[in-house]
Amino acid sequence: MSDAWPLTEADLLPLSIGAALLGTGGGGNPYIGMLRARELIRKGAVVNVLPLGALPDEAWVGEVGGIGAPVVGIEKIEEGGECYRALRAVEDTLGVRTSALISAEIGGANSIEPVIAAALAGLPVLDGDGMGRAFPEVQMTTFFIYGAEAAPAAIADDKGNVVVFRDVKDMYWLERFARDTSVAMGAGAGLAITPMRADFVRRAAVPETLTQALTIGRTVLDARAKRHDVVDRICRDTGARLFFTGKVTDVRRHLQGGFARGEAQIAGTGEWHGAQARIAIQNENLVLWVDGRAVIMVPDLIVNLDLDTGEPITTEILRYGMRLATIGLPAHDLLKTPEAMAVVGPACFGYPDLTFTPLAA
């Protein structure tokens, strides 16, 4: 455990900034989670971060996260113990105790949810996650793509209700049951997936994404402190590339299957003056077209930043008149295999005609 390092109060702000950016427009705002983690750390909780390889093969790793609608997360704030109660329920059902927790989704609010559950359980968290970004559905993790069991899983609400899914055919059924249950619970609940063996997690997790989020957040804070162009620094220091700058001329949204889907039109400015961009949204940014040509598509990361401040813009607050810089980040290779394409490729989001063309790393 020599590579372990404690997450400090000073890490929480950069972590939440980096996690918001990796949320690719969705994933929920990490601000509330940051405050909750801060309250716990101020009361003396210690959460250590371990590299993926730190645990023995046969140790158990728990995976927890919030499930629901992001807008609920900023309004009906957690009672506090939702993910922790769900974790204990899956442990009890499986008859094991976990040695560490891992995030399903580093993008957005679920970057911090495992930290909070770990603080309550007295466990460390692993430096990695199941997406390397945010995705809208439960099955869209590298853990499920590479064979994690769908059951038992457990979901807990603010009121003390805990529902255990004992037998579930596959991860799509889990998504359906968990989604419906979370809606019944008020569209905000804590979900714990079946604990996984550490040797599996080492192979299947997107590595070092907690560190990546921290690095992005620290870059943003450093750029702000030094009055650098934040968008420029993000591109220079974090492997992102600028794909478009412009002004939002229309945002249309509709609901489909409980998810906010929509499209934003952007009129180019600066280097892209005269060009038109279009971004498809399902909670997260899915596809960027420039002058009719698809230039970035899921699972690669499409991130809208405020052109001036570099602040990540979520799809919920995207509105007419905003000036944006749209950047792209390549997804991890674990998300680009044929197995991954079947779960998180463009076709899985309603774009069967698009053939995934990866961004150059």
Binding site: R36, V71, G258
Partner: protein
Amino acid sequence: MIRIGIDVGGTNTDAVLMDGTKVVAGVKAPTSADVMTGVVQALRDVLAASGRQATAVDVVMIGTTHFTNAVVQRRDLAPTACVRLCLPATQSLPPMVDWPPDLRDVLGNHWFLAHGGNEFDGRIISPLDEAELRGIAAQIKARGINSVAISSVFSPVSSEMEKKAGEIMADALPGAHITLSSDIGRIGLLERENAAIMNACLRDLSRHVVEAFRSALKDVGFGGRFYLTQNDGTLMDAAFAERFPVLTFASGPTNSMRGAAFLSGVKDAIVVDIGGTTSDVGSLQKGFPRQATVAVEVGGVRTNFRMPDVFSIGLGGGSLVVDGPGGVAVGPRSVGFRIVTEALIFGGSTLTTSDIIVADGAARLGDPARVSHLDPALIRRARDRIAFLLEDCVERARISAEPLPVIVVGGGSILVEGPIAGLELVLPDHFAVANAVGAAIAQVSGEVDRVYALAEMTREAALNDAKAQATAAAVAAGARADTIEIVDVEDVPLAYLPGNATRVRVKAVGELHV
């Protein structure tokens, strides 16, 4: 149209009289402890300077930084209790959790979590418990608190619980000021609750301030309509302003930035408005203040108003200068309007920034002989500290390396020694009263915020309907139909509601019709 714009700052009360788009006269008078004397003085002075009669004036617009200053300086704030209807949800983060501790202490950190609140779809989290609320009211009473903010989970979706709890509190606490979060803010519990708590703690002050305006105008013989400016640069009538003082937050900066753009003709710049107590810094884009895209902090507290991206620092012409072992401290405490009696140059005994500037020979103000004894080394260190504070805030407001000009306005402009952060400096005519000009040119708005069922009509038809309603509301509020522009359109689908429901918000603004 003849209009008077007034801006009441912590230190000075400024007034301008405008005939159409022409500034006929602009004056400054010290803000008085009772507000009214200073306002009456400024009104009399501006009428005299312009040679017009009060009866010739069509309308008066007032911008005031009173309420922002009260929060920034932690002054005149009433002890306030927050009652959140939520249990068992939201226990992980109590009210005021992310407030600066000193402000939380001033208000007393009184909070109560009670049963109640709604889910996103209107279901209840738990039933409202009247006995529980009466028990809380008894504790509030026992602590001698007279201001109460009530928040409830998802009250923007259903405000019934807040209203019911408000009635119970009003019954149990006769005469208490009660603010409901659903009257003030949008989705986002902590930010809306923060705004409600700040509104509640300002209600004693607001009654006093609005009443003072009313009698001041009567005193000079003006019997027409008067308005207060709110944070988006538009107007609200006096009765409304008294109930919702928090909506004036950042109206001063909005006014001074719009005034700075109007007076200088420069449309893209950094604007620094140096008053007696604070400096407000923001960036001007195409003549309008840049809107904040994220939560805006007021006095260190997050809110979710749509506000100009302006921040305040505690530096002004009346800021206290204190020499100590750790170096020279400048602000954030200020003598405010008492500068005319407390500053050394005016015969007082408090060392202020204005004393430093006069002692340095950089401005003529008061009696320079009273500061001739000041140590030149202290003067230099204080000026360096002021320059550092100004440079720091200009750099914070800069969002690119592009060398934008800096427009400096406000009565405290004497604090500026030369170019700030190496940028071009613009001092427009009437710079000292830019915020009063901004108030005078404030517009009237009409807003629509309603839910449309898109099963029954197309999105375009819904948007057009909302735009027509917003335009009609602006006209009803006094806007000239031919000047109306739609400035804001937002449509957000509501999750899990049948009929593809979407919430549409449209805002229209126009020039005040007289």
